[in-house]
């Protein structure tokens, strides 16, 4: 008796397949590599950055120490207070990534929960949740963020709370629509006929089939959250000096843009590449998680 072809072959999973497809997407891999690089740089910063290039907060008032152009000693130059720009960019990544990840986590937590309830139960609950989302959409995003910060007070913590709260409506919408399409499947009826409870059906049978769009959207949102943090900090509503934040560095550098261009170029470059990386990754994930695309 001959075994069917697939017996003995490695069982393929959704995630296994997705990873294989992602690997072939060059742009997504470049994005992923850059994110990993930035994370490693900033996570290991304590070990090598202050000793080699100087503490990001160390103000050097010695004559000639401020506004140095890039050199071996200070690869990205120094700012008007004599602080090493490279060291500040590396430490700034910490702020940006933390804000990005935590803010999006808050959005996901609220958005996924509300989106799931909305999509699964429908009716009045659905109307209530979706109309509240519409209210959020009705305000200009950045103005709403500024207003929230104005109420909460400008601080590092309040930045990600504000961005997190503002992010949920889109997540809820995306997740709701994905739940709506998944719950029509016969296997959901089958699960109910098996005696599964609402919660079990929701979490075990519907959600795993509905998360793909959320993973994509969440990844891209991290980029968006980083931009928003930079914008808020640039406007003085976000992270407060002297904490190194990319947006804050740009803000400090704007009057010196022509005298000391390195002050704007490097933080700008960091924002651009990091945000782009998240978007490319999200784009790659979208293709990779689409089960209809067969290699």
């Amino acid at each position: 008796m001959t075994a069917p072809a697939s017996v003995g072959a490695k069982s393929r999973t959704l995630w296994g397949d997705a990873w294989r497809r992602l690997r072939h997407n060059k742009l997504a891999i470049i994005g992923l590599a850059w994110i990993v690089f930035v994370v490693l740089m900033t996570a290991s910063a304590e070990l090598w950055v202050p000793s080699t290039f100087g503490d990001p907060l160390a103000i050097d008032t010695a004559p000639g120490a401020s506004l140095q152009s890039p050199s071996f000693e200070h690869p990205f130059g120094t700012d008007k207070l004599g602080r090493d720009v490279f060291s500040r960019v590396v430490y700034g990544a910490r702020i940006s990534l933390t804000v990005g990840v935590i803010a999006v986590s808050i959005s996901l937590l609220i958005g996924v929960l509300l989106g799931a309830i909305s999509g699964y139960y429908g009716g009045f609950t659905d109307t209530l949740v979706m109309r509240s989302a519409d209210v959020f959409f009705a305000f200009p995003y950045i103005l709403f963020a500024i207003a929230l910060i104005a109420v909460l007070g400008p601080s590092y913590r309040n930045v990600f709370i504000a961005i997190g709260i503002l992010g949920w409506p889109s997540i809820a919408r995306v997740f709701r629509s994905s739940i709506l399409s998944v719950k029509e499947n016969e296997y959901v009826d089958a699960a109910r006929a098996m005696g599964a409870s609402d919660l079990r059906i929701m979490f075990r049978h519907i959600m795993p089939n509905a998360v793909a769009p959320i993973i994509v959207y969440g990844t891209m949102s991290i980029g968006g959250a980083i931009i928003t943090e930079a914008a808020l900090s640039f406007l003085g509503m976000g992270v407060q000096p002297p904490t190194p934040s990319w947006g804050l560095m740009l803000s400090d550098a704007k009057s010196l843009m022509f005298r000391a261009p390195w002050l704007t170029i490097w933080p700008g470059f960091a924002i651009l590449t990091t945000v782009l990386s998240f978007v490319l990754m999200g784009d790659g994930l979208r293709d990779a998680l689409d089960v209809k695309m067969k290699d």
């Binding site: 008796m1 075994a3 069917p4 697939s6 017996v7 003995g8 069982s11 393929r12 999973t13 959704l14 009716g123 499947n185 016969e186 296997y187 009826d189 089958a190 699960a191 109910r192 006929a193 098996m194 005696g195 599964a196 409870s197 079990r200 049978h205 795993p208 089939n209 089960v291």
Partner: protein, 338 residues
């Protein structure tokens, strides 16, 4: 013999924008342990909704069971609370769905999925349930069951998926197995295998089966009793032999005439039932079948015929079934259709 399931005057209605749809209208039947009841009728005749109503799976709030009793071992399922019904579902009454391609969750391994009801109802651990799932896969004739249990549904063929569905339904050793057109989505050769498997499983587990189908061949093969539905109502109900040998209702005659047959030397072509199934919102007055019935008279337009016991437990809802002169010209021997 004591009844395992007794359905009395069941009515399920759906509220739609165009009006109320009486998907199931005053349906009564009973099921004995280990027996098979076939529910036949065209699409939209209320077969599936009847089955869903028994398990209280009609989609609310659009659909509502407005009347009747569903007595399972004497307890009214319609009066149970949500938790009690959940205990029944999958454990005592299990269901096999029509399309095996979409009835298995794509993200779970087959063995895990079969084991789920065991975790839910029998308090097994994941590992125990998985082991039992392997035995069940073996039982429904899936080779290399231990390896296959680790596969995902998309790695199974249609026939194998339906076998897996049957294994899933049988996991808790249910008293009643409801099969909603279990072979419709399958190839003809696979259909026969699946039916055979169901008969075999019934002998082995002693489960009663409610078989929803529009394939009269399936009915002849398996059923002890037959219920014919039209426009949400029962039009004929009785023992399988009676319904095949001596069908009483003109609609049942029509169904039998529209079957291809190879047992008699008839050069005749198939005789379809003329007209369209009625809209369930605007059910024809009187007997719902009268616009398509070649024998319809005035009374058929005016009065709804009651389902009456014509002879010894063979029921029909036709004004003329009781007339001795009103019977089908050529009776077809049962068991030789299809």
């Amino acid at each position: 013999m004591s009844e395992l399931l007794e359905v009395k005057n069941l009515s399920t209605h759906f509220t739609t924008r165009d009006g109320i749809v009486k998907a199931v209208d005053d349906v009564s039947f009973s099921l004995e342990p280990g027996k098979t009841l076939a529910v036949v009728g065209e699409s939209g005749s209320g077969k599936s909704v009847t089955a869903l109503s028994i398990m209280r799976l009609v989609a609310e709030p659009a659909g509502r069971i407005v009347n009747g009793q569903v007595l399972f071992k004497g307890d009214d399922v319609l009066k149970m609370n949500e938790a009690q019904v959940r205990e029944l579902r999958g454990d005592r009454i299990a269901m096999i769905f029509q399309d095996p391609m979409t009835s298995l969750n794509p993200v779970f391994r087959v063995g895990r999925q079969i084991g789920e009801s065991l975790i839910l109802h029998k308090g097994m651990t994941r590992k125990e349930a998985f082991e039992r799932a392997i035995e069940l896969l073996d039982m429904v004739g899936i080779p290399h069951s231990r390896e296959r249990a680790k596969d995902y549904p998309h790695q199974f063929s249609g026939g194998m998926r339906q076998r897996a569905m049957i294994a899933m339904a049988l996991a808790c050793d249910p008293d009643i197995l409801i099969a909603d057109e279990p072979t419709t989505a399958l190839d003809v050769t696979i259909q026969a295998q699946i039916l055979e498997l169901m008969i075999e499983m019934q002998e082995r587990t002693g489960a009663a089966i409610i078989m929803i189908t529009h394939d009269l061949g399936v009915v002849a093969d398996m059923a002890d009793d037959v219920m014919v539905m039209y426009a949400g109502r029962q039009v004929e109900y009785g023992r399988s032999d009676d319904v095949f040998h001596r069908p009483l209702h003109p609609y049942a005659w029509g169904l039998l005439d529209s079957l291809p047959r190879h047992d008699v030397d008839e050069k005749g072509v198939l005789v379809p039932i003329t007209g369209q199934p009625p809209s369930l919102i605007n059910v024809p007055s009187g007997c719902a079948f009268h616009p398509r019935c070649p024998y319809a008279r005035e009374v058929c337009r005016a009065d709804v015929p009651a389902l009456t016991d014509i002879m010894d437990g063979h029921l029909s809802a036709c004004h003329f079934s009781a007339d001795s002169g009103f019977h089908r010209s050529v009776a077809r021997p049962a068991g030789e259709v299809a």
